[in-house]
Symmetry: C2
Subunit: 406 residues, 2 copies
């Protein structure tokens, strides 16, 4: 992909006021910032985003600092503002007047209680403003006031029920997947609303529920259940529709083989296992048969693989056009040539943390490339720039800080 | 959220030519279609999308039909077109001249071989056209030609390595998560490119790799490893940063409790367990202590919960402001009041399948609501409408069908 380090960025004309904390909201605004939006992260004076206290930390001379926060909040400007004060709300309204998007992940109703509700106040102030809220269960429905955390979304959205070893218990995906899915859906909602605004001239509310997003990610689970009456069971690394499609034991570890269709299965039998008779074996003639008899099939494949290392088997299968690959841990991913070519991790300099690695952006746009261009902000770092642009002079800003409004 | 069934839709002015098959691409265009885009799904004459042959099926008088396909392809128009013929490519170019987006999930290089490469042909034809490609490993980098399947993205992107019971093997998330993440990133990339076009007047290439998207979804795994040198282990339902935050045994099943901070932990000890002395217990005074001693903490909590059903314990915890919830399977999710209020499943009529349920859209836009408004197309169903608009009369269309071009 061609380099264009000084070119335009896709969202560079958008101003986003970001009240979000922890992960779902900050992941959403991270993506928008990576794509060029001017994201102004608004934090509580004195303490800031909870994740400033989340591990992993780097020990510095005068205390420890969070790499978690620094990773997810790069590319954002940072200001402090106390919305529980009248002056704080006044300043927020001035910012909202000039913004394209306000995004928050409070529990529903918090902004209304502050006198900053969208329909009542902000939209009237700035009809072009888009208002995005990300919460555990969304801003409407009987669960709207329930507290939401990633693990609850994974549990109540149905992902845990279908994840885990066959015969074992429900299992959480190993990252905060509900938050990530919420952030991605939030970005889609915001960008769709921005596009609608080009025709309507008006902003609107974008409402994201982590539970909804996890349900969406379980794709065809509901129709499988509705049509069969059978609750889809946990099945380890297997997949209900395709076989062989699993992790298989080699001499020194596991290899994924995904022979997704009849042609690939026949190739596997003929060119790899050297057992063409399996193609006509009554147990394996079609996909339903292979699914029913996959224990037998696994035994045959693993009996072959026991003489090969993962690397040898992977090479052999790929040379014969059969989809295969290893299970990589993060140490291997960081060293992987493809991951490097795709810039999925990037080193950057941070003013206090020093040299550090951050995640790259997975949305690769050829001409308006996502770019890491700013370190995550220190608490209130950009107060002077952002509030200065509203007309507050240096002394006024010092006074606001003295009053703990910023 | 207010009803606006006949209102505008966010993306109603966008025309998307959709060459994608199976799940990642079709999930992407499903979201764009749900938000209003005019998606024209282009399939191979005679056979169509592979998923027309994927279970679950509904048995009909004259054969079986796939509900998998019908779910993911609602809201799309369907035409057939053989791009391996000169006439087929001519028609495709005519469509591309009037489209905003072309999206495909072939292996990289296929469109170039057909003489329909973006940079060489399509962009020159229509400089405003956006070209999105979703593939296993992306269109550049040393792995670009490797075959990609969801399970390979989950394995090579690091999600499997961190998912699974403590001490157990790497585990695949129970849905085709790599495909879903690829589809979501694709939608963000397309909408960002659409926005950039409002300023530049030009389309561009959007390049999505399923492996990249899974890596992005592992969020802070890399920085945890880089800072500690320790590969993050699988830990069942636990989370490395917070405790108690897990699934706990009640009398009749498991309950999720997420006491995400000090205040919630103190509430749990005082108001639920009625054991305020635990707050000062040396093992549990702060989060690092609770993480280190979470087996002890689990025992204490489960010793309390053994007298409660999941429903009783959930009620008690929520009344006291402590985040908690059950692990729901799909039968419970379909009956859930919140899920119904959010319209995460909707019934619709399909011309051949009859009454069926499809997934709802998790991007809730208040004024330009996502809507299910068309059943998934029969193969070539909209040939007359779509090719008719290019100037092909009824006879010409019959002739094209006779030549197996459409």
């Amino acid at each position: 992909m061609k380099k264009d380090e000084n070119g335009q960025m896709a969202l560079e004309d958008l101003v986003i006021l970001d009240l979000t904390r922890v992960l779902a909201g900050p992941f959403c605004t991270m993506m928008l910032a990576d794509l060029g939006a001017r994201v102004i992260k608004i934090e509580i004076p004195g303490t800031g985003d909870d994740t400033r206290q989340y591990p992993p930390f780097r020990q510095l001379k005068n205390g420890r600092e969070s790499l978690y926060f620094a990773n997810i909040n790069r590319n954002k400007r940072g200001v402090t503002l106390n919305l529980k004060t009248e002056k704080g709300r006044e300043i927020f309204k001035k910012l909202a007047l000039r913004a394209d998007v306000v995004i928050e992940n409070y529990r529903p109703g918090v902004m209304e209680k502050l006198g900053l509700g969208y329909e009542e106040v902000l939209q009237k102030l700035n009809p072009r403003l888009i208002y995005a809220a990300i919460s555990g269960f969304g801003s409407y429905g009987p669960y709207k006031n329930r507290p939401g955390y990633d693990i609850l979304a994974q549990a109540m959205g149905g992902m845990m029920a279908i994840t885990g070893p066959a015969g074992g218990g429900p299992t959480r995906a190993g990252s905060a997947l509900g938050d990530i899915l919420g952030g991605l859906h939030g970005a889609i909602g915001i960008l769709a609303a921005i596009h609608a605004r080009t025709r309507t001239g008006k902003g609107q509310r974008v409402d994201i529920s982590l539970m909804d997003c996890v349900i969406a990610a379980t794709e065809n689970t509901a129709i499988k259940y509705l049509e069969s009456g059978v609750i889809p069971p946990r099945m380890g690394n297997r997949y209900a529709s395709v076989s062989p499609y699993d992790a298989f034991c080699c001499r020194d570890g596991m290899l994924i083989i995904a022979a997704g269709n009849q042609k690939l299965f026949e190739k596997l039998c003929r060119d790899i296992l050297k057992r063409p008779e399996l193609i006509a074996d009554a147990r394996f003639t079609d996909m339903p048969g292979r699914l029913k008899n996959q224990d037998d099939l696994q035994k045959i494949i693993e009996d072959f693989l026991k003489d090969y290392t993962v690397a040898e088997a992977e090479k052999l299968l790929l040379e014969n056009g059969i989809p295969a690959g290893p299970i990589l841990d993060i140490s291997q991913i960081l060293e992987n040539e493809q991951v490097k070519a795709r810039e999925m991790f990037q080193e950057m300099d941070h003013p206090t943390l020093g040299r550090m690695t951050v995640n790259g952006c997975a949305v690769k746009l050829a001409d308006t490339r996502p770019r890491i261009r700013r370190a995550a902000p220190a608490l209130g770092q950009d107060n002077e720039e952002v509030f200065g642009a509203l007309g507050y002079g240096r002394e006024a800003i010092l006074a606001l800080a003295g009053e703990k409004i910023i």
